[in-house]
Amino acid sequence: MTYNKASSLFDLSRWSRLAQIGSINAITGLSEMVDQEIKVTALSLEEVSMRNASALIGEPDDMMVGIYLLFSGSASGQIMLAFQPQTAFELVDMAMGTPPGTTRELGEMEQSVLAEAGNVVGSFFLNAVADHASLRLLPSPPAVVMDMVGSLISAVMAEALQESETVFVIRLSFSLPGRQIEGRFLVLPTLDSHTDASENEENQTT
């Protein structure tokens, strides 16, 4: 089967398997970290335009905590784990074993907890994709930012647009059953690196 590299013919179905495998593992990692069951509520792969980009994680002027990292190796791109501030505080409490409501702002230790959450979720996603497709995908250390959704997304989009006209996003939504806790996980692979990963996917015996 010839693989057409033009982005207009980009084959999302090849990546859907990788995204699913990566996402399941990513959620497993987070679940282990907070010792709670986590449910995937939605998984999508889409080409995103600048116009609908901020809708990826919320309203443009909503406050959001984003844990951001880059990845490189066989493929490169960006990863962002996003939570509303209140959710981020609750996750910190869960991870640290402190009573709910203890964390009310993000000091150094709290940011470190969230950074570690980003590290685990990001690494687990990359590990599953890498092992499945025989690749090497290395995450950077994470950065924790709390700011407006519009600003966070525009920074991520600007970075993606530096490399490519089209921006491709894997978006995972998840929640903790029985609690008002939900989050989003975005993976934005750099377009021209997709060919390596998805060609390897093609070559895997299944």
């Binding site: 970290m33 590290n119 090497r136």
Partner: protein, 118 residues
Amino acid sequence: MAKILLVDDAAFMRMRCAKLLAEKGYDVLEAANGVEAVQEYQRSKPDGVLLDITMPEMDGIATLKKLVEIDPEAKVVMVTAMGQQSMVIEALKSGAKDFVVKPFDANRVLSAVEKLVA
């Protein structure tokens, strides 16, 4: 009791590990990145090292190689979320004695440390 050096850029992880080990009577030292880890290793000669991979300045694999270069007998266990097959292989080949994936099970870490310093 044995002296263990914890290397991780996340203060939260260092705190968690330190608590776990201190409760079992180990002396705990900490470093936040590879550069600090090498300095601390040379200064304090710990009996074992728990080493993260994804860190700024010098990643865990580079740190591992440096530690083994300084001390071929260095006893290092990788403790990291970066558990890809290629990474595990590289770490073991570069001299790590064990490889624990984060988020870790407390008993897994404790038994890895016990075996390390035995």
